[in-house]
């Protein structure tokens, strides 16, 4: 009997290891032979730990499973149990997705390169190696792929800049410093299908003429580090990385760099300083990292999901990918549903689905069952959206026009118990704690902002000051940390003014 218990951090954090151990013990007790596979997560995180069993008619799932449920699952022969939810692919949450980047995540042992190839892995890299590097860059450009880390810069153009830049050594840096609250897609891909990232980095290396790749991974992801190290070891042993990648005349190596808990290092120039053993201070641009990046060499800095989307594009062609989406937001986006939502997890879909469809239909409203009041899209620097924004199509352009951003596509739900003044104050506090300190609007503005907004209900001068400060921070900050903190602050003030109104006592004074 083949049983799957995820090793994804989300599953582990709610007891997946204990469940796996209990399944082993129960099987031994009953004399049943169990082939236990530790897979990545299928992405239905509200059902974790989600256990799957291979049957004649496909995989059937049970969840959320606790140690106490294991004996009962064996009693029913993993059949008509209360926790049975059928096949994962048949659930609406999964059936409505278009899984390209996450096509393989959760299907098998993530560090088995053999399993990866059997599921169609390495097709993209093999195809790339039959093309010229310039043709690979053209393919990525034609796909319309844009940076999935948040900035949305066209990936092909960045690659071309690096390929054309002067330098003896070029680097591929994977930004895996996924610090935005509400996002976890990078983590899921690295833990559930790391070879897709490795393959994407190798394709990028071939395209721009880089021989060295570095994955800059946040320290808050210790499980991802373990899976990545195992995958890198397997990739080196089986010739996916090394002096002759897949036996071809192309040399490429990847190493893992563990970060040290600074949010601002998700900004690409801070990240490069950190990799060089310096304080993670933002660099002024120009020069662009594409021209002078790691150790002053031309460097591609791409997010995990950007690089993870490349193997599919090379394997299946740019046209199919570019045909998906809406307007200039092409392809699919792995959207993350988190916080106070009922059905939380990873939902990959073409751009263009509405915010309302995501939070009401797919996520099913709040986890607490109370009315949904606000959603924050795009992490701590993203705007808060209200019930009036539910028709907004999920694209870079529509969110920009609505005074927000999609960022790394994390969506966090809040019910009617949330105090939006506190959330706006926290946005400033977070900026103050994580500011690198290089520019004044961010370093000082965040501190003054937190102090000022805290008295908004008792001081009529506070909100006008905050609005003025937000203009300064937006226009005067060096990077997105100070520059985008006004998004959550101003959206909270304009969309939820009732939470900032003067209290009766003070208003009467």
């Amino acid at each position: 009997m083949k049983v799957y218990v995820p090793l994804d951090s989300a599953a582990l954090a709610v007891g997946a290891d204990d469940v796996a151990e209990a399944i082993r013990a129960e099987a031994t007790k009953r004399g049943v032979t169990v082939d236990l596979v530790r897979n990545g997560s299928r992405g239905l995180l509200w059902l974790e730990p989600l256990v799957e069993v291979e049957t004649d008619t496909g995989r059937v799932a049970f969840g959320p499973v606790t140690v106490a449920d294991v004996a009962g699952l064996f009693d029913t022969g993993f059949g008509a149990h209360d926790l049975a939810i059928g096949g994962v692919e048949d659930l609406p949450f999964f059936a409505r997705q278009t899984r390209l980047t996450f096509a393989r995540c959760g299907l098998a042992d993530p560090v088995s390169l053999t399993a990866y190839e059997a599921m169609g892995g390495l097709t993209g890299l093999r195809k790339a190696l039959t093309l010229t590097p310039a043709q690979v860059v053209e393919t990525v450009t034609a796909s319309g792929l844009r940076g999935r880390g948040g900035a949305g810069f066209p990936t092909g153009i960045k690659w071309k800049t690096v390929a054309d830049a002067e330098g003896d050594q070029r680097y591929i840096v994977c930004n895996a410093d996924e610090g935005d609250s509400g996002t976890f897609a990078d983590r899921m891909l690295m833990e559930g299908d790391p070879f897709t990232l490795i393959e994407g980095m190798a394709i990028a290396g071939y395209a721009v003429g880089a021989t060295q790749g570095v994955i800059y991974l946040r320290s808050e992801y210790p499980n991802a580090a373990i899976v990545l190290e195992k995958a890198l070891t397997a990739a080196r042993a089986m010739g996916l990385l090394g002096d002759k990648v897949l036996g071809q005349a192309f040399k490429f190596a990847i190493r893992l760099q563990i970060a040290a808990g600074a949010y601002v290092c998700g900004e690409e120039t801070s990240l490069l300083n950190s990799m060089e053993g310096r304080r993670g201070i933002v660099r002024t641009k120009p020069p662009l990292p594409a021209v002078k990046g790691f150790l002053a060499s031309p460097t591609v800095v791409n997010n995990v999901l950007t690089l993870g989307s490349v193997p599919h594009i090379l394997a299946h062609g740019a046209e199919g990918y570019a045909a998906l989406g809406l307007g200039r937001s092409k392809g699919t986006m792995p959207i993350q549903l988190g916080g106070n939502l009922r059905h939380t997890g990873l939902f990959e879909a073409p751009f263009g689905i509405t915010l309302g469809a995501l939070v009401n239909d797919i996520a099913g409203g709040t986890a607490t069952g109370r009315p949904l009041r606000a959603v924050q899209v795009g992490g701590p620097l993203g705007a808060y959206m209200s019930a009036n924004d539910m028709d907004l199509p999920f694209t870079y352009e529509h969110f920009d026009a609505a005074g927000g951003l999609i960022g790394h596509a994390g969506i966090v739900g809040f019910d009617d118990q949330i105090d939006m003044l506190e959330m706006a104050r926290f946005a400033f506090e977070f900026c103050a704690k994580e500011s690198c300190g290089k520019c004044t609007p961010c370093r000082i503005g965040s501190v003054r902002g937190a102090e000022t907004i805290a008295r908004a209900r008792t001081d009529a001068t506070a909100i006008p000051l905050i609005k003025d400060l937000c203009v300064t921070m937006k226009d005067g900050s060096l990077c997105a940390l100070g520059g985008f903190t006004p998004y959550p602050v101003m959206s909270a003030i304009t969309k939820f003014p009732e939470d900032f109104a003067l209290t009766e006592t003070e208003a009467a004074e």
Partner: protein, 163 residues
Amino acid sequence: MRGFLLATTPAPDTEPRLSAILTAIGDQQADLMNILHAVQAEFGFISEKSMRAIAKALNLTAAEVHGVVTFYHDFKTAPSGTHVLRLCRAEACKSMGADHLAAEVASALGIGFGETTADGAVTLEEVFCLGLCALAPAGDLDGKQYARLSSERVALLAGKVRA
């Protein structure tokens, strides 16, 4: 990385162990992050003495190394308690009552964030996002991550390590 440290009780700096780390990892500035992680894993924190030795080995000033150590939240310049409990205070966890949970846990331990209990058993820290936003609120104890936390569950976990 926290996941790999705190397994051992902080021990006093000894030069041979520090030298071994420096020899094993390298002497370039780009090696500094890895060196600091290794030193903290070995000693539980990064002492002034360690910083000076690292600076010498990498041909940097002590101020430069000190500047790097103090920039990053992960690096500690003093020993933590025997156990380190971190609770996520970011938005997704707040949407599921993280602030309430934080207040209850802090009150039960009798300390605030960034503080250690008088018996040296538990240090309470805040963290901003562990990527467990789908199962909020989340935290970690001695590097092991937990989600769908309640104050009862935290008390249970804290009780286990203090016992």
